[in-house]
């Protein structure tokens, strides 16, 4: 069977994302890549922890952070992780329309998160907390900004995937692509949980 061929319910494998050698390789390679990404974010977290009290004359995290806004952003992103799980469930049941629908919801939630983050950053800049105002400013925008850039890249990725495959069913060729995006999205979500804790909650109480 050709990998690009549309799968039917009759020949649908249990794990379409790992049914070919290419799929298996992508699955493992992407997990390893996420391992590297973990080190990347760990280094950024370490830098932030070292510099988070170095705000000089500028506002502190405690003065800046507004938990309701950040909570809303967190909820958007956590929900988007849930919807991407629904998309993967649809993938495994060969329901392509449902898969596309859930990924579209995921995309919208991701864009909502980005909108909130842009609003938040803009607000901070007006409060005198900028990238160059202090070491705290540089470390904050770098850590949170790296995460935001990951969300933005994910949005471009899933948009490309959805529209490229809009009129195509699930095949052994595109199933790993969908699955990898979901893995990536979960990772970005987990990083946010740590940012929420280390940056915002610890910023409020520490």
């Amino acid at each position: 069977m050709n990998a690009g061929e549309r799968l039917t319910d009759a020949n649908f494998p249990a794990h379409p994302e790992k049914a070919t050698l290419e799929g298996k390789n992508k699955f493992l390679g992407f997990w390893l890549f996420l391992g590297g990404e973990t080190v990347l974010f760990a280094t950024l977290f370490g830098t932030y922890l070292g510099l988070r009290n170095m705000h000089l004359d500028g506002p502190t995290g405690e003065e800046l952070f507004k938990l309701p806004l950040v909570f809303l952003a967190t909820m958007l992103l956590l929900t988007s992780s849930l919807t991407s799980v629904y998309a993967v469930l649809s993938l495994k049941q060969n329901k392509v329309r449902s898969l596309q629908g859930w990924f579209l919801v995921t995309l919208l939630l991701g864009l909502g998160f980005l909108g909130l983050e842009i609003y938040e950053f803009n607000h901070y800049v007006h409060e005198g907390h900028t990238f160059t105002s202090s070491a705290f400013g540089s470390a904050f925008y770098t850590l949170v900004g790296f995460h935001g850039a990951h969300v933005a890249f994910g949005c471009l990725w899933i948009t490309t995937l959805i529209f490229r495959n809009w009129n195509r069913g699930i095949s052994l060729y595109n199933a790993p692509k969908y699955y990898l995006f979901a893995l990536y999205w979960h990772f970005v979500d987990v990083v946010w949980v740590f940012i929420f804790t280390v940056v915002y909650l610890m910023g409020k109480v520490g």
Partner: protein, 614 residues
């Protein structure tokens, strides 16, 4: 269903720009890495000429600092790493019985990223001067430098580093997923094992460096304040991040050399490797410990006696698995039928040389003593014994050993032996006296010294030694030219090899194995030789072979990043945006253009087998 056999053969330059074949990418890595090795070596010789006599004024001050920085940076990132990747590409799929690497396209991306990163860094020579903050680029030296040298350093290495990470992941997946039937983990040749561990180290070490480079770039290009104490920054953050990457990097470099030495010693002693499983365990243990010793580069920073002691003990512990390896190589030779080919000479030369580097390493690991050695020529002598006496001798050994497999010719043995002796004697002449220079108080990185301090003779000898090493390298290039101009094609198994890469004809077919081999033990080919077959038993019938399509996109993507990096140095946001746009566009094209590869038909494979070509 429509067929996807849209495969077109490309020729000449276009073939090399679009190739995704691991064998060709290996050659590209070797050529580019060899080129940068020459540049880095030239920089070293120029420095040694400056130091040949006291108060010399040939290359002083800023220019010497630039030579120093570029020598270290070029040798580590642009010569040693790519040459390691060259062997990994050329050999690993063959050693494990695979038809290609897991991600042929990503493999090409990795090469072109490295290449364009290296070109960007070296362009600095012509555009306002090379970086001069040392290969470690410590803040505030690197953050306060006014010219663009450090910008070239940070952006060039960032791009090259991304390529290295891609290569590391590729080889991890290749080795885990694509081994031939019967090729269990504990039957893998030691070079594959060492490369596997090295790839794991790359995966977990390089992202830290990526962040370090981002921070430094943000500091220089966007006025961030990570390392600026006036704005609340802390220069130690750079040192920690750099060495959290930097120490594993040392093992990233040396482990593949250990692998090469294991292959060569075993082959030319006509014995299986002594203590194979201990060798595997030692390799893994060195990789593991390599992550928890970085502070030994920072003993004099003043992190406190407890911290220093913990890292000192961890550092000394690495001597144990390394000692296991040294003894196993010696025991492999013990009682073997040793053939002193050039490859074996380099391997045998490696063993005592590397031990000397290891011993000074343990000396440096004692914090109290390190306060005396720190930043002196003793350190220079130590790490050159490890990296040149270890890695480079290993790479030379591997070059003579695998040259017939990579280039279908056997290098001339007479010239090879001249190459070895010139280089080996030159190496010890250069670096052995530097131990004493350091103990007598000569600091590293200085461009001159006063006469009458008993430093003259040792410095003179050291420079003469460097010229010997240069002469040895020239002999190697003469050898390559002589060999290339000879018509004599190598035998498929010129060394009576033990591992799978010697089981296929010369030249290696583009699909490597017409039939995936069945592996029946450690030293897979030698097992079959002992069983009287002399060739591998196939694990599958002859059939269609699936191949990946070549693509120009890896080249274009890397060119885009090169343009973006170049523009960032001059703060030209529009062109930087165009460059990043090219990167995103190529990723987009890669995503939307289906690439199913193509098939080589069963009849063609059968014809190749009949004609002795597969």
């Amino acid at each position: 269903m429509a067929t996807h056999e849209s495969h077109k053969k490309r020729s000449g330059l276009m073939d090399w720009l679009t190739t995704v074949d691991h064998k060709k990418i290996g050659i590209l890595y070797l050529l580019a890495g060899g080129f940068f090795f020459l540049i880095g070596g030239l920089e070293a010789i120029l420095m040694r000429i400056q130091l040949i006599k006291p108060e010399n004024d040939l290359f002083t001050g800023e220019l010497f600092n630039q030579l120093l920085t570029m020598h270290g940076t070029t040798m580590i990132f642009l010569a040693a790493m790519p040459m390691i990747f060259a062997y990994m590409n050329a050999v690993i799929p063959l050693q494990i019985g695979a038809r290609d690497v897991a991600f042929p396209y990503v493999n090409a991306v990795g090469f072109w990223l490295f290449f364009f990163g290296g070109v960007l860094l070296n362009l600095s020579w012509f555009l306002g001067g090379a970086p001069e903050a040392g290969w470690t680029a410590y803040a505030p030296l690197s953050t306060s430098a006014q010219d663009t040298g450090v910008d070239f350093y940070v952006l060039g290495l960032q791009i090259a580093g991304a390529g290295t990470l891609a290569g590391g992941i590729n080889f991890l997946v290749t080795i885990i997923n694509m081994r031939a039937p019967g090729m269990t983990f504990m039957r893998m040749p030691l070079f594959t094992w060492a490369s596997f561990v090295t790839s794991g180290l790359i995966l977990f070490a390089f992202p830290a460096l990526t962040v370090g480079f981002f921070l430094l770039m943000f500091e220089r290009v966007f006025d961030a304040n990570f390392f600026n104490p006036e704005m609340g920054g802390n220069i130690l953050i750079w040192e920690h991040i750099f060495w959290i990457f930097g120490h594993p990097e040392v093992y990233i470099l040396i482990l593949p050399a250990f692998g090469i030495i294991s292959e060569v010693v075993s082959t030319f002693s006509n014995k299986r490797l002594f203590g194979y499983s201990a060798m595997v365990f030692a390799t893994v243990l060195i990789g593991f410990l390599g992550f928890m010793v970085w502070v030994h580069h920072m003993f004099t920073v003043g992190l406190g006696p407890v911290t220093n002691s913990i890292f000192a003990v961890a550092t000394m512990a690495i001597a144990i698995p390394t000692g296991v390896k040294i003894f196993n190589w010696i025991f492999t030779m013990w009682g073997g039928q040793i053939r002193f080919t050039t490859a074996m000479l380099f391997a045998v030369g490696f063993i005592p040389t590397f031990v000397m580097g290891g011993v000074t390493g343990v000396m440096l690991a004692v914090p109290a003593a390190d306060y005396q050695y720190h930043d002196s020529y003793f350190v220079v002598a130590h790490f050159h014994y490890v990296i040149v006496g270890g890695l480079i001798l290993g790479l030379f050994s591997g070059l003579y050993y695998w040259y017939p497999r990579i280039f279908n010719r056997v290098l001339n043995e007479t010239l090879g032996k001249i190459n070895f002796w010139l280089f080996f004697i030159g190496f010890h002449l250069t670096f052995f006296p530097q131990h004493w220079l350091g103990l007598m108080g000569m600091p590293r990185r200085v461009f001159t010294y006063m006469s009458g301090q008993h430093l003259d003779e040792a410095n003179f000898v050291s420079t003469i030694g460097a010229l010997f090493m240069g002469a040895g390298t020239i002999v190697l290039f003469i050898n390559i030219i002589v060999t290339a101009s000879s018509k004599k094609v190598a035998d498929k198994d010129p060394w009576d090899g033990r591992t799978l890469e010697w089981s296929m004809p010369v030249p290696t077919p583009e699909y490597n194995f017409a039939q995936t081999p069945l592996v029946r033990g450690l030293d897979a080919l030698f097992v079959e030789k002992m069983a009287g077959n002399g060739k591998m038993t196939p694990a599958e019938p002859v059939g269609e072979i699936h191949m990946p399509n070549g693509s120009i996109l890896p080249f274009v993507l890397s060119l885009g990043l090169f343009i973006a990096g170049f523009a960032l140095i001059y703060a030209n946001w529009i062109i930087a945006g165009v460059g990043l746009g090219i990167v995103l566009l190529t990723m987009f094209l890669r995503s939307i253009l289906d690439d199913h590869g193509y098939h080589i038909h069963k009849e063609e494979v059968e014809a190749d087998i009949k004609g002795g070509r597969a």
